[in-house]
């Protein structure tokens, strides 16, 4: 596998501008002759499809939901970062770049991150022009808040529904292109394979989720914006439909998968209430701006109601351990701290699987200080959501929260042009690996999705199309025959098992293995155990899964079975990656590598690289390739939030 990152030479500040100038352009009259496939309609996919349509390309966009507006970007609550420095508090492109590289624990590519910080300012302008109703001050200017470990206020937001409003902006731009006929939208359509011709990505195989019809689509380039793989844990904050299938199919066709073990556990989610739990709900991190996190100091107090525990008996563990950042430490630090106090027997809430896994997030001081109305204005919708789910009102009693899988920093490997090692296959948003390193900062996912779709891919894809020199390919090419035959064979295999166990039970079991051995804290021993458990579970799946109905009808259980089958293979690559990375960094915490104070111990001499896994054939262990990471601008230091 050849990994040429194509990072422009010269100072990082000038890299993107000079690179843009050096990119080849496609003549305006020729753009319509190029067909581009975009898979996914979230922030990255919708913004890319719309922008490519505006440029004149012939675009086909696919999503598995019934409307492009449903993509899971819609659920992002807190906000979007941009280095506007509207607040005059010392922010700059360089500071956002610095914070992101450091927050990612030095496992991201500097040049990509710098570009992300640069275009962040354009995103806000673009979204306002589209009519996105960001929060504003009385004078009519945009409001900002500080978010998730940042010491400047650079986060733009729209109540607790920033993702929704940004996605509806991109959806509107996409609708405009559908209206003009430049984008053809395929809803309730799932990508099941990538078609590679002469080493270039030239099309996809899809299944119509209403009729079950399998179709072939040929194009000059394929863009994947299919999100993350957090649902490998079964319980996560992802939507139920979010899956790894499209990325995993590309991996099997030769695309490298980078840093799969880098998963983010979000510290503020509603705890599990029972075995039937189908998903976890995130409570925006912005709540930590005003909420104080605590547990009882004495394990005997964990069953008491919080108001019966006096101030002196409360352990504000984040404020005590990290006096300068307090409750606003980055996500990975906050999550591990919550796990530690619960493992120490100080957790509160329901006992599930023998342990109380919840901590308090308390707003009583904020309500006393600012008044109930101000707090309701900031978090009203979140408080209401919490009350609907848990039955408790956060105005009256502290929230109970616990970390949950939320985001995956790993993804398909891409170069500076967002192209994978398979020419023509571009990967955007959460589906790629490049910008967040080992840990993503709050309010940076929306920024990256829109940066990739609006302001990076539309430039870089032109260079590919202008220089690829590939002849026309239509869907009668033998590569399409072969890919379609494989898709059909897998369908038949799933339907012919005829077992008795529902798909969800296998998925739940896989999730338990991953959470236990490849979750918040990982050990060599546990990971090796997972490498035994996963193949055994996979074997049981293929001998005992029950898939009701057939493949030529609307059949959600058949869809799910295919996705879980892929998760069962993909999980193993994640575990290999976690085992190989013998260090702790960001969201990847290996218990063997920690400081005396229990903080993550990075090993830069051996692991300052992206670990890229390549498919070596069915039944073979994946092969590891490395892209070394250079830090010329941000000095490698130990993250400290003390």
């Amino acid at each position: 596998m050849k990994l040429d990152s194509k990072i422009p030479s010269g100072p990082v500040e000038d890299a993107w501008n000079s690179h843009k100038f050096n990119l080849r352009l496609v003549n305006p009259a020729n753009k319509r002759k190029h067909r581009v496939i975009v898979v996914g309609s979230g922030l990255a996919g919708a913004s890319a499809a719309a922008s490519l349509g505006e440029l004149g390309y012939d675009v086909d966009c696919f999503c598995f939901q019934d409307s492009p507006r449903r993509a899971h970007s819609i659920a992002a609550q807190g906000g979007i970062n941009a280095a506007k420095n509207y607040q005059n508090d010392g922010d700059s492109v360089y500071r956002l770049f610095y914070d992101t590289v450091k927050g990612g624990d030095f496992r991201a590519r500097e040049a990509n991150v710098y570009r992300l910080a640069q275009v962040s300012v354009n995103i806000i302008d673009q979204c306002v022009a589209q009519g996105v109703p960001f929060a504003r001050e009385y004078g009519g200017v945009l409001a900002n808040r500080s978010f998730g470990g940042a010491q400047v206020s650079r986060t733009f937001y729209a109540r607790g529904q920033t993702g929704q409003q940004l996605l509806l902006g991109a959806y509107a731009a996409l609708n405009r292109q559908i209206d003009t006929g430049k984008v053809t939208m395929h809803t309730r359509t799932e990508m099941l394979d990538l078609v590679v011709v002469d080493g270039h990505a030239r099309g996809i195989i899809t299944r119509d989720l209403i009729t079950g019809e399998i179709s072939r689509h040929a194009a000059d380039a394929v863009c994947l914006a299919t999100g993350g793989y957090g649902n490998v844990f079964f319980l996560s904050t992802n939507a139920k439909g979010s899956n790894v299938t499209a990325s995993f199919r590309c991996y099997k066709r030769g695309a490298g998968f980078a840093n799969p073990c880098f998963t983010q556990i979000h510290p503020t989610c509603i705890p599990v209430s029972g075995h039937y739990q189908s998903k976890l709900t995130l409570m925006s991190e912005s709540l930590r701006n005003d909420g104080r996190v605590w547990v009882p100091r004495d394990p005997k107090d964990v069953e008491k109601t919080p108001k019966d525990i006096p101030e002196a008996e409360r352990y504000y563990y984040l404020e005590e351990r990290y006096p300068s950042f307090g409750n606003l430490v980055p996500r990975d630090v906050a999550s591990r701290a919550a796990k530690k106090v619960c493992d120490d027997g100080l957790g509160v809430g329901h006992v599930v699987d023998g342990q109380r896994n919840a901590v308090y997030l308390d707003f009583s001081d904020a309500i006393k200080r600012d008044g109930r109305e101000v707090i309701a204005d900031r978090y009203g919708n979140l408080f209401d959501m919490y009350e609907r789910i848990s039955g408790d009102s956060p105005y009256e009693t502290p929230m109970k929260i616990f970390p949950a899988v939320h985001y995956t920093m790993g993804g398909l490997w891409v170069d500076y042009n967002l192209m994978s090692n398979l020419p023509g296959l571009h990967v955007l948003g959460e589906a790629n690996f490049s910008d967040h390193g080992a840990n993503r900062l709050g309010a940076s996912a929306l920024m990256q999705g829109l940066a990739d779709g609006y302001f990076v891919l539309p430039y870089t894809i032109g260079n590919y199309l202008a220089t690829a020199h590939q002849g026309p390919v239509d869907t009668s090419h033998p590569a399409f025959d072969a890919a379609e035959a494989e898709v059909r064979a897998k369908s038949q295999k799933l339907l012919s098992v005829g077992g008795a166990t529902p798909v969800d039970q296998f998925h739940r079991e896989l999730g338990k293995i991953m959470w236990e051995y490849c979750g918040m804290s990982r050990t060599e021993e546990g990971l090796k155990k997972a490498l035994e458990l996963i193949p055994a579970l996979r074997a049981r799946f293929w001998s005992d899964v029950a898939v009701p109905g057939g493949d030529e009808e609307l059949n959600p259980w058949f869809e799910k079975a295919g996705r879980v089958a892929d998760f069962l293979e993909f999980a193993e690559i994640m575990v290999h990656d976690a085992l190989e990375r013998a260090e702790s960094c960001g969201g990847h915490f290996r218990a063997e590598y920690q400081t005396g104070e229990g903080e993550a111990l990075r090993r830069d001499d051996d692991f300052a690289h992206a670990a890229v896994w390549g498919f070596e054939g069915e039944g073979q262990a994946p092969a590891l390739h490395k892209e070394p990471l250079a830090f010329d601008n941000v000095k490698l230091t130990t993250r400290s939030y003390k």
Partner: protein, 247 residues
């Protein structure tokens, strides 16, 4: 708690459909959809056909879940989607009837799954501001008063679930369409295209087979985001202004 469920089953758009009856054991901390998951896992294990329903985020924001529960789209709890409805809203021994969103424009695809693509096509008929990706003016170059921005947000909060259509005796999409019209008409960026936008969106609604509005207000009562019918008044004013404006 034990629930008796009367659930609508329909094999496809041309099937006549029927109610099926099930008993489900659940707990009050379960969500309504987790109660359905429990039922479906049991049906699958028994070799029976599970009930198809739409869902995705399960956080009340994607708009994918639907279901008419005891005659009410998204069920009895105000301002709450089906996925956020929890069993503690019901009592042990309750009998609950669940049907798909019914409307002329929404074809039933299977069981509780309906085709809501007509809503997308209404949005495609001008429910946007015509600005291409590029270099628009600085975001703070155009101040917008907080009250206006907040009101625009209230309308922009629509999740496109279609409950308003399912609740309306005329199966009208007026609240859905007017929410977008109002969101964009309130903002200076959206005013340039306001007359063509409202005209085209109203035509698209009629073309898709949605009914007219006769002021029942069921839409507002069923809206999980509690969008006000004031939006409809605003749409009507926009239509009138469009008709009076020179073309």
């Amino acid at each position: 708690m034990k629930i008796k469920l009367n659930v609508w089953r329909q094999d496809g758009p041309t099937d006549q459909g029927r109610f099926e009856h099930h008993h489900v054991d659940c707990t009050e901390d379960m969500s309504f959809l987790e109660m359905f998951d429990t039922l479906n896992e049991r049906l699958i294990s028994a070799g029976e056909s599970p009930v198809a329903f739409d869902h995705d985020c399960r956080e009340g924001i994607c708009g994918m879940c639907s279901m008419v529960i005891d005659g009410l789209p998204h069920g009895p709890q105000k301002g709450t989607t089906t996925c956020q409805l929890h069993m503690r809203q019901f009592a042990d021994g309750d009998e609950i009837t669940v049907e798909p969103f019914r409307a002329r424009a929404f074809k039933v695809l299977k069981d509780l799954v309906v085709d809501r693509s007509p809503l997308d096509r209404v949005q495609q008929a001008g429910g946007y501001i015509s600005v291409s990706t590029g270099a628009p003016p600085d975001a703070n170059a155009l101040p917008i008063g907080k009250a206006t921005a907040d009101e625009a947000f209230d309308y922009a909060a629509c999740i496109g679930c279609g409950a308003c259509v399912a609740a309306c005796p005329n199966a009208s999409a007026m609240l859905f369409s007017s929410a977008k019209v109002a969101h964009l008409a309130l903002l200076p960026q959206g005013r340039v295209e306001r007359t063509t936008r409202v005209t085209r969106m109203v035509q698209a609604m009629e073309h898709e087979g949605f009914g007219g509005c006769t002021n029942h207000g069921e839409c507002e009562a069923s809206c999980p985001k509690e969008i006000s019918v004031d939006a409809i008044a605003m749409l009507n004013r926009e239509v009138m202004a469009a008709n009076l404006s020179p073309r």
